[in-house]
Structure formats: C-alpha cells, structure tokens
Amino acid sequence: MIRVSTLRFVLTVSPAPGWMLIGFAGSVLLGVATLCFNPREVDSAFGSILLLQMFAVSDGFSIPASRGYFDPLLTGEHSRQQMAIGTLAAAALPGVFAWVLLVLIAAAFGQWRIVVAPHRHIALVIVSVLAWAGGLALPRMSAGALWAFFLVSAALFRGALAKYATVVQSAPTDALHLLQSALAFVICPFLLLGDPPASTRPIVVGTDLILLLAVIWCAVRYVERRDYALMDPL
C-alpha cells in the first residue's frame, strides 16, 4: 500500500541517530582543520569517517523488520532486492555525504591526489557493504562494534598483524599474493588510506569489488529468503 521509495521509507522509519550525524559533521570539520594546518594528514579525517560508517551502516535490518516496522514496505510494490539495496543506500547515505563533502573540500584545497585516488573511495565502499551485510541479522551497530573490536584486538598483537600487513606493501606478484592483498584490504579497509603499493593496482581493487558484489548478492538473498515472523515489541 505504500507508494514512497524504499530509501525514503527507511530514512524515515530507521534514521541514523543524531549523535552519529554530529560525529560525521565533526569528522568533516576535523578534515577542514587538517587541510588548513597539515594537509598531508588529511587521511586521519577520512579514517574517522570510515570508523563512524562502520557503526552507521550496521543498522540491524532484521530486528526492526521482525517487529513489523517494515511491514508496509515488505508487503508493498517493491521487490525484496530493491528493498535490500534501498536499506544499504539509506544506511550508507550520511557517511557517503560526509565523505563526498570532505573530498570536495580537499579538491578546493588542491589535494587532487585524494580526489583521483580510487582506492580511498573503495575503502568507504568496503566498509559500507561489509558492515551493512554483517549487521543484517544483528542488533543495530553490533557489526560495526564487532569489526572495530576485531581490528583493535589485531592491532594489540602487532607482531602478527605487521607480518600480515606487509603483503600490501608490495605490488602482488602471484595469485596468492593478490588474494592476500585483496583480503587484507577487505579485513582492514583503513590500509587503503595509506597509499600502500598494492592499493594502486587495479587488479587488487578489482578483486575487492568482486568480493563485495558477492557479499551484496548473499545479503540480498538473505533479505529475500528470511522469514519475518513477529517478535515481541520493545
């Protein structure tokens, strides 16, 4: 019965929390300050947007859907595929907006290396897709929290992490190296912000994009096939 787009419905019914929007605004301001005083460190502002995006996109679709909040959409004219992609777009929108704003500001400051480096933007795509897909069946922000916890834990074991992270410090020479580099960027997209040699190879980021398409396909199938039985309200 609903005739509005999936994007508008999800943005209305399940919007990003206010503090998250303030966080994104703060990250953009941090980026502007960095561009004014130390342009070489602007990646730290992009990193903070990535970190917030981890939490913002893991919006826990299944739980509000099982409370019946998405019933008008699930019984409407949109297909489940459209709905799944719509929820991804709605969840990713605030972070993407902050990212694009910072990229435009960086361009205005003459930092063209940031604007034209596709691997940086792929870092945002990786975070958006993986945290969204991982969070479909979990409570809101859980996927982001688990991912951040994993990265912090890995950072604490610096020896093992440093050994693994070196795979991205050289251009891949064989298929195994290529796969390891691609996986390293998927597991830790923050590595893409540092311009490591592997990140500039189209075959590496291409492999990452293929992995992301596979993840999106699995997530859409999950949304399609899942049962939306009613659970008790809050």
């Binding site: 019965m1 609903i2 005739r3 509005v4 508008r8 419905f9 209305t12 019914v13 399940s14 509000p64 409370r67 019946g68 909040y69 019933d71 008008p72 699930l74 019984t75 409407g76 004219e77 949109h78 297909s79 489940r80 096939r225 049962d227 939306y228 039985a229 009613l230 309200p233 809050l234």
Partner: protein, 223 residues
C-alpha cells in the same frame, strides 16, 4: 466470485513444532473472511504467510492468481498487524506523510507517547485512507479501540467489502467479526475449517454467540 487470495495446503513448522498442518482457504473480491482460533493457534503466522512475510514449508499462497511475492508487486494490498508494529520513535506527521495522508493538525508527537488505542486507530486510519486496495489484511484490529472507534472500523470494513475489496481479518472479538464477515476460517491445531456465515446463523442472524458455538464444535472435532 473472483478469488483474490488463496492458500492451499500450507504447512509451517517452527523447529519441531508444527504450527500449520495444511491450512487452506480463499478470500474473494468483495468478501470478508474472519480467522478465529485460540491463543497460539497460529493466526498471526497464517496472516503473515498470506502476506508473503513468512515462507511456508509446504503449500502455496497465491495473490490474484500469482505467487504471493510476485502478486504483491502488482496488487495493492494493505496489512496491519497492530499498533506494536508502528515504529515508536517516529513522529505522527512523518508516519502520515509516508502514506500521503494530509495531517491537518500537524501532529508532531512521537508514536511512543500515544496511548495504545490511539496508535491502533492511527494505523487503521492509515490503512483505510489508501484508495484502490484490492485486499486488506488485519490482525486483531479491534484491540484497544473504544466503542466509537470500533464502530467506525466495522463500518469502514463493510464499506470497503461492499466496494469490492477482499478483507481477511483475525480477531477474538466474535461479535465484531460477526458484524463484518461473510465467512469464517476456524484455526485449531494447525488445521483450518472454513465455515460460511449462513451455516453458523441462528434465527437468521449471525452473532458472536453463534460463532463461539460453531468454534466449540470445530474444536471438539479436532480433539
């Protein structure tokens, strides 16, 4: 009568528990069908299967002759499962805007601060504000409504039914059901038994008491 919704031998299990064991019934255009059953009988599951929200383990659900998922894209339907399915942190105005309803009062309160009955009425008014619906599915719609609102709802359902919309409604409020429905589906132990209003009529008038008696007969048979 053209069938708008049909369920045929629908089976659904949750873990080892069989909730539906071959449920079959249909809803025609301009017909109101009531679903009656004890608590935990699977009425909500049945309605959500009918709306394609739950996949049956066996059997088929067709909406206007098509599998329900495909049918939903083409056939305008409305489903309301009660006030608890309204997002609590949404504002009244935002909810109405989603359905292109005109909010004359500019109501800006969050849904969570409204009373249960007011939320229920808001959801129902939204359903009946949408024109051109071919099927309306309501789960316990009279719950929490005051007598005036309950009367409005019954009249709205009858008006839509008479205009050709199929209506499927589940409720424990047998007297209200009796005032609206042409046919009943008794759900007990996962099995549906369809009964026409005429067959439960006593003295030419279908009443809640007659429905209760008919339901007791069905339950007795199932035992």
């Amino acid at each position: 009568m053209n069938v708008i919704l049909s369920l045929n031998n629908v089976v659904k299990r949750y873990d080892d528990r069989r909730v539906l064991s071959g449920a079959s019934f249909s809803v025609g255009r301009g017909e109101a069908v009531g679903v009656i059953g004890p608590n935990g009988a699977g009425k909500t599951t049945l309605l959500r299967i009918a709306m394609g929200l739950i996949h049956p383990d066996a059997g088929c659900v067709r909406l206007d002759g098509e599998p329900v998922q495909a049918g939903l894209r083409r056939v305008p339907v409305a489903y309301f499962a009660g006030e608890s399915t309204l997002p609590p942190s949404l504002r009244v105005r935002a909810w109405r805007n989603l359905f292109h309803e005109v909010d004359e009062r500019g109501e800006n309160r969050m849904l969570r601060v409204l009373s249960r009955g007011t939320r229920q009425l808001l959801g129902l008014r939204t359903v009946f504000s949408v024109g051109g619906l071919r099927l309306i599915v309501l789960d316990e719609p009279w719950e929490g409504l005051d007598p005036d609102a309950a009367r409005w709802l019954s009249e709205a359902m009858r008006a839509r039914r008479d205009a050709g919309t199929g209506i499927l409604v589940s409720s424990h409020r047998l007297h209200e059901l009796a005032g609206v429905c042409d046919r009943y589906v008794f759900l007990n132990r996962g099995i549906t038994t369809a009964v026409s209003a005429r067959s439960v009529a006593r003295e030419g008038l279908v009443s809640g008491d007659a429905l209760l008696a008919a339901f007791d007969v069905v339950r007795g048979r199932a035992r």
